[in-house]
Chain length 751, copies 2
């Protein structure tokens, strides 16, 4: 027995030692850091998050609302209380709110849309009618249009191609599109490009309503009169205040004319409920829609046009409104000019409990805990900046204006930006710059899932395996690494990552708290505590995750940047692009042959209007060699850095500082000042929101979107641009390597 005990002790010691190695820390500092993290966890109290959410969600708190301002002041006073240098950074932004909203079906069976959500006794704040923003899409155009209605499915370009084959044009028509399948702002943009004069967007119950589950308040899903508010600003061009692109919207900032603001929609757009959509959809004539377009209403879906006309009238107050960002800083003890930023927005469309407060209160809990640790003697090497953004919902206003306003300082000082935006129950979702992937995985290994007691990484792996198909399981089996999702649009990282080149991450738990409250009056404290994260178990788990991320970045001796993860990821992206091009070529050739063989003509039902596709231009071969040669160099440098990484801690403090500065500024070299084609604000060459998908990220966007749009010359040009970008990036790694080469070789370890 003695022998066996010995083995157990040995194993246990080995495990402890290995779990005390953390990226960027010497072993001694790692032990200290882990000790602080243990204490950090004990400071995270669900009751705090509950109390804060209750207050912050007690009234509607959109941009310009009294509660929005009160919330900023409430948080600022707490941050101050916890020991932070806190300011409220105010910007003046264009924020339209509705003056007139009318939608009606004309003709013999007229119908007037209700455009209002019901107050419910089961939901205490749902009756705050006077304070609620009505259901609308921010940055819609003013308009008063009367026209036939056409159903355009999701309203993305492929849907219009299908309509064209069915002989349906939207020119001069009002379109009605289902939410989903793209970011909402894409729908009116593409409708306008196709000649429509108005756009209605509705939540179909198949996606967001009774088809998914019982509706609120019996269940969590969207009621028949529930409406998804939301921005339709053309943020894939640039986010933030439409009048001040590229500069902070300070009181005296130079503003462009509203008519010159290209991100404002050109046609009126209105979101409606499925109860309001039903009579409109029932009025549609024309062909029955393709099977993939069907929704969950009890009707046969038709393309239209409608038998009767629809009248849509929208007028807005085009006011400049103040917004209130709360910025709370804790000056770094050693490296005050290196900033680790942590943000979540605080504005909601209405009471916004899940979106955004569930993430906001997790961030607040982190800040409070850090404040207590500091009082207990913890030193934080770098400066922490906790941000509570206003105006995210309309257009990432608060974060974008602040980032633009402080761009010079941020370019110098920002180490990373850690974002959250709401939280729920279930599985970790994580996106971000791929240099930070191994760093994040180390954290995911040690944060415990509150429902199962295993690490959040183990649980994520279990979910992926169980949901994967056979091929997916085979590929996945045993590989527990959490691949960070590439960041497109959707929350406040845009200004930091895509405009300034600051490595960013975004976290949230979800998958078991689904519901239909999104951007409605039902996103309330009552709803959240009943259906989303009762007891704030995952609120605390999010604090543990984002808190560790923030603290480790703040205290690391050498920043935990891994170039090989980045390099592998961009190699995958490159290989995807080559496959995309090859597939397009093969499919184009195959389809062209089928067209020439008249197979489409022969297969179609002669009694229906359905044009065969047209022959497409052949897909040329592109020259990827400059990019591929560059990737070889990137790989070599990245791998060399990986081998030499551990030498970093042996550098002198000054050299370490120099090293870290290169490390965190390396992401800046992934920008190109002239930006992406047709959208110069987006400068990052690896990640961008899709021009025609919105939320959906496009990786290596300059090349990918050009290929997708069959703009071959542009694609070739962008291959060269990306190759040059990676050359500049590789240069940064080489600078790091030069630095590390000044350290004498350490002794070879025997084990």
């Amino acid at each position: 027995m003695k022998h066996l005990i010995g083995i157990i002790c040995f194993l246990s010691a080995a495990i402890t030692a290995s779990s005390q190695k953390i990226m960027g820390f010497s072993e001694a500092n790692a032990v200290k850091q882990l000790e602080w993290e243990k204490q950090f966890d004990t400071k995270l109290r669900p009751a705090d998050q509950d109390e804060w959410m209750k207050f912050l969600s007690s009234h509607p708190h959109h941009v310009g609302s009294p509660q929005g301002k009160a919330n900023a002041e409430y948080m600022a006073s707490l941050f101050k209380q916890w020991g932070y240098e806190t300011e409220i950074a105010v910007y003046q932004v264009l924020f339209p709110t509705p003056k007139t909203r009318a939608l009606e079906l004309l003709g013999v069976k007229p119908f007037k849309a209700k455009l209002e959500e019901s107050a419910l006794k089961e939901d205490k704040t749902s009756g705050q009618k006077a304070e609620q923003l009505p259901t609308y899409n921010a940055y819609s155009a003013d308009g008063d249009v009367t026209a036939e209605l056409v159903f355009v499915n999701r309203g993305i370009p492929a849907d219009y191609e299908e309509l064209a084959r069915m002989g349906v044009s939207v020119k001069g028509k009002i379109v009605i599109a289902k939410y989903g399948g793209s970011w909402r702002g894409i729908k009116p943009k593409v409708a306008y490009e196709n000649g429509a004069v108005g756009c209605i967007i509705y939540s179909d119950p198949a996606d967001d309503g009774y088809v998914q589950g019982d509706t609120y308040p019996e269940g969590a899903y969207r009621r028949s009169d529930g409406v998804q508010r939301g921005s339709v600003m053309d943020m894939p061009i640039y986010p933030g205040d439409p009048l001040t692109p590229g500069v902070g919207a300070t009181e005296n900032a130079k503003r462009i004319d509203r008519k010159d603001a290209i991100t404002i929609m050109k046609i009126p757009v209105l979101p409606i409920s499925y109860a309001d959509a039903l009579p409109l959809l029932q009025s549609l004539g024309g062909q029955v829609v393709p099977a993939a377009w069907r929704g969950g209403l009890p009707i046969t879906y038709h393309t239209g046009p409608s038998k009767e006309k629809v009248h849509l009238k929208l007028e807005f107050n085009w006011d400049i409104k103040p917004l209130y960002n709360v910025i709370a800083k804790l000056r770094g003890s050693e490296l005050p000019d290196e900033w680790v930023l942590r943000g979540n927005h605080h504005d909601g469309w209405v009471n916004g409990a899940a979106d955004p407060l569930s993430g906001m209160v997790a961030e607040m809990a982190e800040a409070k805990a850090v404040g207590e640790l500091v009082k207990n003697g913890m030193k934080i090497k770098r400066t922490l900046v906790y941000c509570a953004w206003d105006g995210e919902e309309p257009a990432l206003l608060g974060s974008t204006e602040w980032a633009e306003d402080h761009q010079e300082e941020l370019r110098q000082k920002a180490v990373a930006y850690i974002n959250t935006d709401g939280n729920s129950r279930g599985f970790i979702g994580a996106g971000g710059s791929h240099t930070l992937e191994p760093f994040f995985n180390e954290i995911a290994d040690v944060v415990t899932d509150p429902q199962t007691g295993v690490s959040i990484k183990e649980r994520k792996y279990a979910q992926a395996m169980v949901n994967a198909d056979k091929a997916g399981r085979t590929k996945l089996a045993g590989n527990k690494n959490i691949k960070l999702e590439a960041l497109g649009a959707g929350s406040d990282w845009g200004g930091f990552l895509q405009y300034l080149g600051i490595a960013s991450m975004n976290f949230g738990f979800g998958g078991e708290g689904s519901g239909g409250e999104y951007h409605s009056i039902y996103d309330s404290y009552d709803m959240f505590t009943r259906y989303k994260d009762p007891g704030f178990q995952y609120g605390v788990t999010l604090s543990k995750t984002a808190g560790r991320t923030t603290l480790r970045l703040a205290n690391a001796e050498i920043l935990p940047v891994d170039f090989t993860s980045f390099q592998k990821t961009v190699m995958e992206y490159t290989s995807e692009l080559k496959t995309l091009l090859e597939n397009m070529r093969a499919e184009t050739d195959a389809e062209n042959k089928m067209i020439n063989d008249k197979l489409f003509d022969l297969a179609k039902d002669p009694k229906k209007v359905y044009a065969s596709p047209l022959v497409k231009e052949q897909v040329p071969f592109l020259n990827f060699s400059s990019l591929e040669n560059m990737l070889v160099q990137l790989k070599a440098s990245a791998e060399e850095y990986q081998r030499m990484y551990s030498k970093g801690t042996q550098l002198s403090p000054d050299k370490q500082k120099e090293l870290n500065e290169i490390l965190f500024r390396a992401e800046r070299s992934l920008l190109q000042e002239k930006g992406l084609p047709r959208r110069s604000w987006y400068k990052h060459q690896v990640y961008a929101p899709g021009f025609y998908t919105g939320y959906g990220v496009k990786t290596l966007p300059g090349i990918r979107e050009a290929i997708e749009q069959r703009a071959w010359t542009e694609a070739q040009e962008n291959i060269e641009v990306v190759a040059k970008t990676f050359q500049e990036y590789t240069q940064q790694i080489k600078r790091v390597l030069e630095l590390l080469k000044t350290v004498a070789d350490p002794e070879k370890k025997s084990f």
Copy 2:
């Protein structure tokens, strides 16, 4: 120019010559046959089919109805008029009809199901209330049950496994299942096996209603009160009269007791409309169903049990009814004892215009045209037998009883059985014995699609290519061969193919005349001529297809049997089985590992009842060698026959007769007298309806179903049975080869 014209003439002659080669005919006889076929086409008049359908569908014509008998007499008189020896073969069969039908939801919000379809002014025969069979499932048990309701999706075994994981049992409950996903009789059978006391089947609008298209009469799809009648007899055990398995149900046949008839359902079963289903489904509590189970009603689907109980009461008249098969023979001029059979049923659930009359009138047109050709001097070598079956709908009654009654004669004489059962507009669908595949393809090459003017084969290929995914297109490209589908259950070939081993085929056009009239009062002349095949264009095309098939089989010098097609197909089936087994092994191992690694436990939502799967027994390796060795021999013989086939016409008439007899009886050697496990009536070892799918065919069923049921010993035994079967089959080919070897080698052709 002259030279060029020469080439054209040469090519054109070559094409004509080649198109005048048909399987089984010497070149001289092929020319004659093709000439007659041209004349045959000219005799096919759409107006005939229209007139006959109008009469035959003028009143409900189910088994035992006055119109059913009148229709038999009408057809018999026409066949006689066209020159056929015609008889009406009467059998006495058990055919239950409803006495009491009641379905209600009890409790505070009671609901009584309407169980009736509306008369419509747009559909002239829909108001014939007194003559219509009410909505019911034939061969349901009598019953009066009151119990909670549970939703079981499609009601197949996998659905009950999912329910068990969700903690839902149907023991003592009434189940409600959606139509589709299996043959309807599987649903009450599996419900009973799982302990349910009653079964309701409804047509969900997602499958069969407004989700698919506009409802009748505005469109062709099922109305909210439309009901699919149908049999639920356990036909995968044996079809035909439940009281006379294996013998003809003649007046004095020996009958088993009704209580011993195992094909009659053990619990009451009732089909209902989606209007009647809605309140029942709304009454269900319990969990929300898995996404794949959702239907198209405007509710959240739950598993149940229901909050209130459901009362189902069914009583039937268990009467013996006469049925009337029309059998019209034209004695063969040379080989009167070789019969080519052509059949379609004539009974309908109600007015049955599409099902079955659209196929029946096509067959009648063929018989009429043949009669005229014979009057014009055409000789038909073999005996033609045109059959119009009664009682197909309840249980393939007419064809099965006739086949059982005449089994000895049919075993001797039947060359092949050609079935149709309804027809519509669009693309050819063809199933059958794989020895006949090249023969069928030759016909599909020369029958013209009436809408596009290309051959029905070209159009079928275009459809397959356009609907295929990328991988499918690559595989398919250029291969226009129409693969015959394997025949399971679903129409009158059962007695011929699966009980007697007579090579069978089944044809029909479809894909462009979809609707929701199936087994309802709306399957009417009005409906058919408006939505299914207006103008009977495809009725005539079906006559051309089935007519050629019948005539060529009747006149071929050497029967157009191709053993290599059969051999390739069974090799594919064998390879499928091996893949099935390998996949089951890999999946079982992978899933067991996931279970042991607790991945299912970790991935599930702890707030929901959802048991992780249980560890399954490992999948053993089976010994396929006897079967595979046999397939090698089969291949060799089949290929040798293909090389020697053309010698057949050089045999003496006697030897040719001997050869043909071996050829058409070869299919008999695919039977095993003891039948399939647990269902001795099904003797064919290659094709059978699935025990748990019903319509769905199972190829090499003895092996396949044993593997699917994880009955490893039975699977191994059946590998040996099938190997032995193929040995006997190969023996028949060897007998043919011996015969052909008596012919001296023909001169080698130079080209």
